[in-house]
């Protein structure tokens, strides 16, 4: 059993197939290029033990599959809590209740606290099945009632209570109707709450086939609400955001009924030809709402910009809606979770240790270069006949030991341990870039043959790398060709800043927060101060911020020679980061600016010096911080462009009887670039091999 790649999907597949129930039926080998696992989620420890990530990784509270595997992994790992600060999964993840959206100029930032929900992600789901359209519609109807009610003036809005409702005569009710009609604005809002309540009642009581009857109610409700709320907003601009949310929810409900989502066998997928904003607009959302800060924040979270172009936000409507509903309404514990150390340390080191213990073999420094097809004499369908690798480096004695301990935690280093490699000194001196797509230096070639070296293959590499290593498949299989053409990816970029002052001193007076919707290109940032304790600074910085965003496609640069291209891309990110800091950091941290409203570069902490003070303060000091251009094909983030989703291929697909695929780019039910999709896909790949786990137990796979 060969698993190629070491990201979330690969680990999930390996974890499933190495479970004790299979009694060692599968002899698994994981082939990984370079020195570390993790794929897009790989992280490394650099100078001062600092954590260096590909970007900002957040775990949503609805990542049921991912959390479940993580919890099982930590349980099996059974670290001694007296020795390790991160021994249990609860030590590894911290809840993030504060989520924000940066506002366009002239308006205040959105900051919302999402209350903790019952249970924890990965708990067995027993009470009821929340994944039905009816339940989502009810949830949105309830939320709207609450929002509308919250827009009501506080005290005098409602007539005093006279008697119990059950005893009202019809004449009394008529009286109330008249009084309400006289009340103007607020009675209108109250009336709208009543209509919403009625809508909710209808959802609860009518058969799914009959829900179309509620459509006229929604239509007239939209008119009433719009008129009422626009007046209210004119008086109180703070209500603008509330109105935008209500408007979007209303458009969703209307669209769900109009498009007969409840009875469509494809569920939300029937909307994937539309862009999410376009679809909401089609169902009556106001332009201001679909262009709102909130919408932009959501697109930012998914990096949903074609070619990284801020002018081309694209997110297939079915996927966008499914993701939003699951994110807001089905999270458990907290809506978002942050990792307590690097993603490599929290996720991939435990996976590595547990899988190693289960007997899974890991071959580092193996770069896949070609998947070779062949045919049996008896059948016409091709299969994988051989896997060709570059062996990037040879290990001195037997097995490469990839982990190092930092502050008492097994971690991945940011550089390979050259001492374990034959000719390691040379590779270090010459600066071999083991993880770079454009690195061609190697120790030797290697060919694995079917039947001799492997029987079955799980291809769990990034989509961007597929055309490079599956040339034969893409040339002979039209579906694969269409997939690599239609399913798009985008490079991403990120930087991290270690600062010598507290967030409070710098002017941030909220609790740790994650925000998106900020100025491009680094539209998403998070306060990561909780990681500082895990790093090994001689003099601990006081605050830590992560920034990330989609990277504009650099087609011009691409024509340059490989080495020059990589250098140019890195330079581009550094310049963009420096420019962004100069222009925008003051929005978050007004205290980081000097009298002339210039960023105080001397705030940056240099890991190379004992006191953290670097050379002369200037933007060149950014060199002491960490930034990355994720331009390797396999590091590119997978998008969900409208009209592309149906070209994805499922891990269950049977075109090749000894090959299956895994990754967040496959048709895995969720189809979004994220950890959860990768894990679902890995579990699907395991199912394709072993019929276990059952499809019904891949949570959310059969989601409408």
């Amino acid at each position: 059993m060969a698993i190629i790649g070491g990201g979330c999907a690969a680990m999930a597949a390996a974890f499933e197939l190495s479970r004790p129930i299979h009694r060692g039926r599968y002899a698994i080998t994981v082939y990984q290029l370079g020195w570390r696992l993790g794929g897009k989620g790989a992280s490394g420890r650099g100078l001062a033990g600092r954590i260096e990530e590909h970007g900002l990784h957040l775990w949503m509270g609805f990542y049921e599959n991912a959390f479940r595997l993580m919890r099982e992994c930590y349980a099996e790992l059974a670290r001694d809590p007296r020795r390790y600060r991160i021994a249990d999964w609860r030590d590894a993840f911290v809840a993030e209740p504060f989520i924000g959206v940066g506002a366009a100029r002239g308006r205040r930032n959105w900051l919302a606290c999402f209350p903790p929900a019952d249970g924890l992600p990965g708990d067995p789901l027993r009470d009821y099945n929340p994944f039905t359209l009816t339940s989502y519609l009810i949830r949105t109807a309830v939320l709207m009632q609450t929002l509308v009610a919250s827009a009501l003036p506080l005290s005098d809005a409602v007539a005093p209570v006279e008697s119990a409702a059950a005893e009202l005569s019809s004449a009394e009710i008529e009286g109330i109707v008249k009084r309400y009609l006289k009340f103007g604005l607020m009675s209108g809002l109250a009336g709208a709450v009543g209509a919403l309540r009625l809508f909710e009642l209808g959802l609860r009581r009518l058969a799914p086939q009959r829900l179309g009857a509620l459509l006229p109610l929604l239509e007239s409700l939209g008119v009433t609400l719009r008129a009422q709320l626009e007046q209210a907003v004119a008086r109180d601009p703070d209500l603008q955001e509330v109105w935008e949310v209500i408007d979007l929810l209303l458009a969703f409900q209307r669209g769900a009924l109009r498009f007969n989502l409840l009875n469509d066998p494809r569920g939300f997928d029937c909307l994937n030809g539309y862009d999410t904003r376009e679809w909401l607009r089609l169902n009556g959302a106001a332009p201001a709402s679909v262009n709102s800060d909130l919408m932009r924040g959501l697109y930012d979270l998914a990096m949903a910009y074609e070619d990284g172009d801020p002018a081309r936000p694209r997110m297939a409507a079915g996927l966008g809606l499914r993701a939003c509903l699951r994110m807001f309404f089905t999270y458990r514990g907290a809506m978002m979770w942050k990792m307590k150390a690097g993603m490599g340390d929290v996720v991939f080191a435990p996976f590595y240790q547990v899988l190693r213990r289960r007997g899974v073999a890991f071959k580092f420094f193996h770069r896949l270069t070609n998947v070779r097809l062949g045919r049996d004499s008896s059948s016409c369908a091709p299969h994988v006949a051989a896997l060709e690798f570059d062996l990037q480096a040879r290990v001195r004695d037997g097995e490469y030991q990839p982990l190092v301990e930092i502050a008492g935690l097994p971690c991945w280093p940011a550089r390979p341990d050259y001492a374990q490699l034959l000719d390691g000194e040379r590779a270090r001196r010459e600066g071999w870039e083991f993880e770079s797509h454009w690195e061609s230096r190697r120790a030797r070639r290697l060919r694995l043959r079917v039947g001799r070296d492997f029987d079955l293959v799980i291809l769990a590499i990034g989509l961007g790398a597929v055309p490079h290593v599956c040339r034969e498949i893409v040339a002979t299989n039209q579906r694969w060709a269409a997939m690599v053409r239609k399913v798009k990816t985008v490079p991403t970029m990120a930087f991290q800043l270690w600062l010598r002052k507290d967030m409070e001193e710098l002017g941030w007076d909220h609790l740790p927060t994650t925000m998106s919707g900020f100025p491009k290109p680094f539209d998403t940032w998070a306060d990561m101060r909780h990681l500082l304790d895990e790093e090994a600074w001689p003099k601990r910085p006081r605050s830590l911020l992560y920034f990330c965003g989609a990277m504009p496609e650099t087609n011009g640069l691409r024509k340059a020679k490989a080495a020059a291209y990589v250098r140019a891309a890195r330079r581009l990110v550094k310049t963009a980061a420096a420019d962004w800091i100069t222009a925008n950091l003051g929005l978050i941290l007004p205290g980081s600016l000097d009298r002339h409203r210039q960023f105080r570069w001397e705030l940056l902490v240099d890991p190379a010096t004992p006191d953290g003070i670097g050379p002369r303060p200037s933007r060149e000091l950014l060199d002491t911080q960490f930034w990355t251009a994720n331009i390797n094909p396999s590091d590119r983030y997978v998008l969900s462009i409208p009209g592309s989703v149906e070209y994805r291929i499922s891990p269950l697909d049977y075109d090749y009887d000894n090959l299956t695929i895994a990754g967040d780019w496959t048709e895995c039910g969720l189809n979004l670039g994220c950890v959860e999709a990768a894990v679902m896909s890995g579990r699907l790949a395991a199912h394709a091999i072993a019929q276990s786990p059952a499809l019904e137990d891949i949570i959310g796979y059969d989601h409408p």
Binding site: L154, I173, G191, H383, D509, D657, D702
Partner: protein
């Protein structure tokens, strides 16, 4: 059977192949999406895959649900006329519940006039105007106006507390995570909680307030902690 060696036909070159999957796409339609509640754990099946369905039966699959709802609908439409009712029941039903037929008719009419009535009903069921309007000065007190949820306030200053509950809230456990004021710099009030009754539903709301400035307004969302569904709003305003 998970993996099988290709049979003798392919000679010594017997490769391992994976089994053909039972399906290769999600089943997203709602009746099929349902599973027994604890089946999120080890796999079980509602639908027995070994039932060998012949073509005629396959054709009929899925009919059951649609057919069932049709039959029900018809039944409901003529439902209430079927049996005579006692007087007490007729009286009780007149004001309390809305029957389906009535609901559908109102929907068809566009609802504009009916809506305020409903909100009035809801307000009557849920709203508690705090009897002590706040003017008589601040001590703790236990007030129970028409709701089943009592409010206990402990405040150094007179305040007005407003509790709006959705009708369902009566049979749910409730939780409020804090009271928030709009604008920056105002502290969150955390000393607010529901005291549960024996069966787990909310019996009383207990609030301990710091000294609030006149006109300060706080509000918080009430949720059912098990599902996260909002159940109402509590708001507190200090008298000027």
């Amino acid at each position: 059977m998970t993996i099988h060696r290709a049979n003798a036909g392919s000679g010594a070159n017997g490769r391992v192949r994976r089994a053909m999957p039972e399906r290769a796409a999600p089943q997203r339609q709602w009746p099929r999406a349902l599973r027994a509640a604890d089946s999120w754990q080890p796999p079980t099946r509602m639908v027995n895959p070994s039932a060998h369905l012949k073509s005629s039966a396959t054709k009929a699959k899925g009919d059951g649900v649609g057919l069932g709802y049709q039959v029900l609908e018809k039944h409901m439409r003529r439902a209430s006329s079927i049996a005579p009712k006692s007087k007490a029941v007729r009286k009780a039903e007149a004001g309390s519940s809305i029957d389906l037929q009535d609901l559908v008719e109102r929907l068809a009419r566009g609802l504009a006039e009916a809506a305020p009535v409903f909100s009035e009903l809801i307000n009557r069921l849920g709203r508690v105007a705090l009897g002590d309007d706040g003017r008589s000065g601040g001590t703790s007190g236990l007030v129970n106006a028409n709701s089943r949820v009592a409010i206990e306030v402990n405040s150094p200053r007179p305040v007005r507390v407003n509790l709006e509950l959705r009708p369902e809230a009566e049979r749910r456990p409730l939780k409020v995570y804090g009271l928030y004021a709009p604008g920056a710099g105002k502290p969150t009030i955390r000393a607010v909680k529901f005291v549960p009754s024996v069966n787990g539903t909310a019996a009383a709301l207990r609030i301990r307030l710091p000294r609030l400035r006149g006109g300060a307004a706080y509000s918080g969302l009430l949720v059912d902690p098990r599902s996260g569904e909002p159940m109402g709003i509590v708001s507190v305003r200090a008298a000027r």
